[in-house]
């Protein structure tokens, strides 16, 4: 018995470690005994390391005789040890005994690997074969050389009692026995794997439960913390900042519209500036809140079936004045007909507004911004999307492309533009304004819709943002 249950097979590849570890020795011994009873041949089974696993033999008369002399015993012991460590490779081999008999060593392979070998014998080869062997040197002569004390006639008589086996017969029987050992190994291997798999599965299930419990606890803690944050941060931001800001804007507007009495030109301009900056600040605060929510995956979409053409048209109309100021022309290209889209109209507007605003903002004066809307399918599927494809129809989608020929984005910055607060040119804040939040919000919203956004840019030639939204979320 082993003190602890160490893995004796490799579960990943389900390898059988070695014959000595896996096999049921009683079964092995029983097989060898019946083999011996059937053929009268001694058999030993050894593992890859040479460890003796089964040994059923009856000492041959010649062996008993030879072992009565010290030289005989030494030669016999040396041979027995040697036999256990002869590696036959992939083919079986015949190994001579000093008595003139032979042993056959048969490899036992399992699933393409050697796991042990069996040693058959000693046995004598029949006269015709022995005759050939004797031409290489008479065995009795050699035996007497090794153990000179032996009586020649006695040795010869005793040698003759040894079983005689034809080589092809010996090959057949030993191959047959090897197959039986393979089957025993298979049965042991299967039993081992079953119990190890059982233990591993139970362990894995346990691990899974513990992990789930920890996840739940962590999620609960996070929720509590988020709750805390929500009641602190969010309410601070929305209440402590927004409320006074709204009053500031309100009062500024009252001043500007002279509801509180007439103002001269300069003061009215001041009031107007206060109102404008205030509104800007209010917008920035709500965008910051948006980024925070998107990052935590807390956006709730209110989807309706909407007409994408109409959605784009309103956004374009709203930006028209801004574009006109810079002499940037807006070109709208709508495929006909366009399918309807299941999306959150307010969020879709936010997506388009940010992209088109950027395109205008980063255009050269007199440039052109093109907005294309076209039907599409989501084509090459990443693995995760493959499940949906097995075997639903291809995902129908809508593609919005916003293209400008303005300053563009240098290659070094292109992967970063979707990060919050990133702006390609550090000085650009001054030149172009903005906080670097627009694209972070856009990409979060696109993702929430189950779509994806890509960007390509050749500065001063063509910069294109491309949003692909599935007509419906795949798992709906």
């Amino acid at each position: 018995m082993r003190g602890r249950s160490e893995s004796r097979t490799d579960l990943v590849l389900a390898e059988l470690g070695s014959l000595e570890d896996a096999i049921d020795r009683d079964a092995l011994a029983a097989v060898c005994r019946s083999f011996f009873a059937l053929f009268g041949l001694s058999v030993r089974i050894v593992g890859e390391s040479g460890q003796l696993l089964a040994d059923v033999h009856e000492e041959a008369a010649i062996c008993t005789y030879a072992r009565t002399f010290p030289k005989g015993r030494a030669a016999c012991d040396a041979l027995t040890t040697e036999l256990k460590h002869i590696d036959p490779g992939r083919e079986s081999l015949v190994h001579p005994c000093f008595t003139g008999a032979v042993y056959r060593i048969e490899p036992v392979a399992y699933q393409g690997r050697a796991i042990g070998r069996l040693i058959l014998g000693p046995y004598r080869r029949p006269d015709d074969e022995r005759a050939r062997a004797e031409r290489e040197g008479a065995p009795i002569a050699r035996l007497l050389e090794r153990v000179p004390e032996l009586d020649r006639a006695e040795a010869k008589a005793r040698l003759r009692q040894m079983p005689v086996v034809r080589e092809d017969t010996a090959a057949r029987i030993s191959a047959h026995l090897a197959v039986m050992v393979q089957h025993l190994a298979f049965a042991s291997h299967r039993a081992l794997l079953a119990s190890e798999m059982h233990i591993a599965s139970v362990r894995e299930s346990h691990r899974e439960l513990v992990a789930q419990k920890e996840d739940l606890e962590a999620a609960y803690a996070r929720l509590q913390e988020a709750d805390q944050l929500k009641s602190n941060f969010l309410s601070t931001v929305s209440h402590e900042l927004r409320t006074p800001l709204t009053s500031i804007i309100g009062y500024a507007e009252m001043l500007r519209t002279e509801m509180l009495g007439p103002l001269d030109g300069e003061l009215r301009e001041c009031a107007q500036t206060i109102q404008q900056r205030g509104e800007h600040l209010l917008q920035l605060i709500s965008r910051l809140l948006d980024v925070g929510r998107l990052e935590r995956g807390h956006v709730l979409l209110e989807r309706t079936w909407l007409d994408p053409a109409a959605a784009v048209q309103t956004v374009v109309e709203d930006i028209e004045p801004l574009a006109a100021k810079r002499d940037v022309s807006l070109a709208l290209e709508l495929d006909q007909p366009l399918p309807t889209l299941h999306a959150d109209p307010i969020r879709l507007r936010q997506i388009l507004l940010n992209l088109i605003e950027n395109a205008v903002k980063f255009s050269h004066d007199g440039g052109t911004v093109t907005i294309r809307v076209e039907a599409a399918t989501i084509e090459k599927l990443p693995r995760e999307g493959l499940a949906a494809a097995l075997f639903g129809p291809p995902t129908q989608a809508l593609r919005f492309r916003v293209i400008d020929n303005g300053v563009g984005i240098p290659a070094s910055a292109i992967t970063k533009v979707f990060e919050p607060f990133f702006q390609a040119e550090s000085g650009s804040t001054r030149r172009y304004g903005g906080a670097g939040l627009g694209l972070a919000i856009v990409s979060g919203l696109v993702e929430a819709h189950g779509g994806h956004i890509t960007v390509q840019s050749a500065p001063d030639v063509k910069t294109e943002f491309c949003v692909t939204l599935p007509l419906e979320r795949p798992d709906e």
């Binding site: 990943v12 090459k380 097995l390």
Partner: protein, 221 residues
């Protein structure tokens, strides 16, 4: 993967994954039938005696390509029943490539999808890259009525980078192709990572013809 330089042996782990009853075991049985006796080990089916729940099937195949290289394939299936979630994850440990065996019957769509999603989760949990793991899709049971049409298969094939292989596992149709396409992808993948081609002087084409020959495959038998 396991590389034993001394024994000049490369051992690869392939897993046949899919929903319950999609034909994973049938694939292994067919392979066992089609492969020459010298190249195949005994098909092992692992069940505990008391409740007969299945852990996995395992078919070991050995292809002696040359004196310099022996390729051992260990082809596993996963158990289908829902309760064996943990077992399925364990079996995916250290996998070199997956054949996803889907059932072509339209009513099985949901099961195919669920099994695929679950598999992606397990691969991730095992720290394997869902995107990069060599994978083939087999659409089994093409002989049944009410199945995904050939047209749909072609469309699927056009949309995915995985080879899509129609099959009738019970008749051995598409079974060998599934194994060999997967082996091809696995070899290319491991070659990229470990430079196998240079180490063993075996090209991807030579590997495929070599394995086909060594396995003595009789297609459709």
């Amino acid at each position: 993967m396991q590389l034993d330089f001394a024994a000049k042996q490369l051992t690869l782990k392939l897993v046949y994954y899919g929903p319950a009853l999609s034909g994973k075991t049938t694939n292994l049985q067919a392979l066992h039938r089609l492969v020459a006796p010298t190249a195949r080990g005994q098909l092992m089916t692992l069940e505990t005696r008391e409740d007969r729940t299945l852990f996995f099937d395992l078919l070991p195949l050995t292809a002696q390509l040359s004196d310099a290289l022996q390729v051992r394939l260990k082809v596993f299936t996963v158990p289908g029943q829902l309760v064996h979630n943990a077992t399925r994850r364990i079996i995916l440990q250290g996998v070199d490539g997956v054949a996803f065996i889907a059932d072509s019957q339209i009513i099985e769509t949901r099961h195919n999808q669920e099994a695929f999603r679950e598999m992606c989760g397990h691969l991730q949990a095992n720290g394997l890259s869902v995107e990069d793991l060599p994978m083939v899709l087999q659409l089994n049971k093409r002989d049944l009525p009410n199945i995904r049409s050939d047209e749909e298969l072609r469309a699927l094939s056009a949309r995915t980078r995985e080879p899509v292989i129609p099959s009738i596992a019970t008749q051995g149709v598409g079974v060998v192709e599934t194994l060999l396409s997967l082996l091809d992808l696995v070899w290319l993948d491991l070659d990229r990572k470990h430079g196998l081609q240079a180490k063993f002087g075996v090209s991807s084409e030579a590997l495929l013809t070599g394995v086909r020959e060594a396995l003595g495959i009789r297609e459709g038998a």
